[in-house]
């Protein structure tokens, strides 16, 4: 395509938007609303997922060994566990450390009571591994695997914690996908309407173009450009607004609700928007492209 034709096409696409001001505005507004809601949803979901991940990272599987297992065998089991992809961290707690931890918790303020066990560790066979996971939904398979290892006596895990977090994560995924899908359909429908009006308004021009030998591409391109431009404008506006809002909200919540800081850590603005901006723009352009392509295919027989 010639550069002059490219610029002409872009100019015509922009002109189309201007010619159908009201419909274009309606499309841009709807697109903005969709991308805005998507952005809000995304921000909430990624922050929530970050909290869930934080919780998940604290959920551990505890691996106990048979009484006659040697340190070397325990190290080997540890090595095997460490090779699993779902394992993020493993911590070995020896019998002595286990006893010390126990004392810290249960003999606090009454240390003299523990002196009776000076030579005798009541948790002599309590050496164990605490295994932390990247993905808690894989807990069951990991437990089954560890149980199959030689020397392992018992694997303790919290099924309720794992299942609840997994189910919750899945639910959030489904709800977000559902809402986003509905919003996208509405946006595509509205852009399609705007382009249909554009085609009706330019019916005569299109007829003339066809008669003087314009290619299909030349006739169709301005409408595609129109859809893409609506998509770009309709995504840049809400993304800018979201950026401004998110930045201020995390500052505001951080200052006004200090007591939340231990429970709720907002992701930094750059981390959220480094994904949200390209995804939002791509979504806008994609919706614009899809809406105009569908309409052209249906209404513009060239």
């Amino acid at each position: 395509m010639r550069i002059s034709t490219f610029f002409y096409t872009v100019k015509q696409g922009a002109k189309n938007i201007w010619k159908n001001k009201m419909f274009s505005l309606a499309s841009i507004a709807t697109m903005s609303a969709c991308i805005f809601l998507f952005g809000v949803f995304y921000s909430v979901v990624v922050n929530f997922q970050s909290v869930v991940r934080e919780v998940e990272s604290g959920v551990a599987v505890t691996v106990f060994f048979e009484d006659d297992v040697t340190q070397k065998q325990m190290d080997e089991v540890g090595e095997q566990i460490g090779k699993r992809v779902e394992v993020s961290k493993k911590v070995f707690v020896s019998a002595d450390e286990a006893w010390k931890n126990f004392q810290k918790i249960y003999f606090k303020g009454a240390e003299d009571m523990a002196e009776g066990f000076l030579e005798d560790n009541p948790l002599a066979h309590s050496a164990h591994y605490e295994v932390y996971m990247n993905d808690i939904s894989m807990q069951n398979s990991l437990v089954t695997y560890i149980q199959s290892l030689k020397g392992v006596k018992e694997v303790k895990s919290s099924d309720i914690a794992a299942n609840t977090l997994t189910d919750f994560n899945r639910l959030i995924g489904y709800v977000s996908a559902g809402i986003i899908l509905i919003l996208l359909c509405v946006a595509v429908f509205l852009i399609s309407n705007t382009v249909t009006i554009g085609i009706a308004v330019r019916k005569e021009e299109i007829a003339i173009m066809k008669l003087i030998g314009a290619t299909d591409f030349f006739v169709r391109a301005p409408f595609i450009v129109e859809g893409i431009l609506i998509g770009i404008i309709g995504s840049v506006l809400p993304l800018a607004l979201l950026y401004y809002m998110y930045r201020n909200i995390i500052v505001y919540v951080g200052e006004k609700f200090r007591w939340l800081s231990g429970m709720l850590e907002f992701l930094p603005v750059d981390k959220v928007f480094s994904t949200l901006v390209p995804v939002g723009l791509l979504l806008g352009v994609g919706i614009g492209l899809l809406g105009s392509r569908m309409t052209i295919k249906k209404h513009l027989k060239v």
Partner: protein, 227 residues
């Protein structure tokens, strides 16, 4: 060259718009097609532009059999045919220059060529001075000249004019016909569909008369043409 062999066109069951038409128009000819409303003149133009497909028969234009032209090649084919309508069909939001340049832009002509050819063709139709005017600022005759300039700017071998004088007064109608004759003298085949008997009689060109979709007369010189 335009050649129709046993061409029929029926829109639906009933009397066909064209019925077994045979025509042969040589390169460089000037031909009038006359007939009452419903005689099939407009259908003929649409078939020549490949806006419609014949129900039967074959059409050859410039050695291309229209039935063999694929959909994607239609734009290329149409670039060899200029077309002018009774209602001018100019783009109202663009000035004279832009209306003519539009035809060049639509086929991807480089801007440099456009800047040379558009003023030249506007000069030819006598509108060089009005290149900045918008359609509503010029007369009907001038609007038709712009339409002719637009049809000619891509240098087609054939010019089809569907009632080009239908919306014009006698003076402007004559001016347009003189312009069409001049274009024909430069080598372009001109086919004019018209109701204007005075012009047809005075021009003394080949006249094809149609009635109810059939060619009933083909007066080669126009000398003996009578309404």
């Amino acid at each position: 060259m335009i050649k129709l062999e046993n061409v029929s066109k029926a829109y639906s069951a009933g009397i066909p718009a064209l019925n077994d038409v045979n025509l042969h128009i040589e390169q460089g000819e000037f031909v009038f097609v006359v007939g009452d409303s419903g005689s099939g003149k407009s259908t003929l133009i649409k078939l020549l532009l490949k806006e419609l497909e014949p129900t039967k028969g074959s059409i050859m234009i410039n050695n291309h059999r229209l039935g063999n032209i694929r959909h994607k090649d239609i734009p290329k084919f149409r670039r060899n045919i200029g077309v002018v309508f009774q209602d001018f069909r100019l783009l109202k939001d663009r000035n004279v220059y832009e209306n003519v340049a539009f035809a060049q832009r639509a086929i991807g002509t480089p801007v440099k060529t456009m800047r040379r050819k558009v003023p030249a063709v506007l000069s030819m139709v006598g509108l060089a001075a009005k290149y900045k005017s918008y359609p509503k600022e010029i007369s009907g005759g001038e609007q038709q000249r712009v339409a002719i300039a637009r049809a000619l700017v891509n240098e087609p071998k054939i010019l089809l004019a569907d009632e080009p004088t239908g919306n014009l007064d006698a003076h402007n109608a004559w001016e347009i016909m003189k312009l069409l004759e001049e274009i024909n003298q430069r080598g372009t085949t001109v086919l004019v569909v018209t109701h204007n008997q005075d012009i047809v009689r005075a021009m003394k060109k080949r006249v094809i008369t149609m009635r109810k979709g059939v060619v009933i007369e083909d007066e080669r010189t126009g000398e003996d043409y009578e309404d």
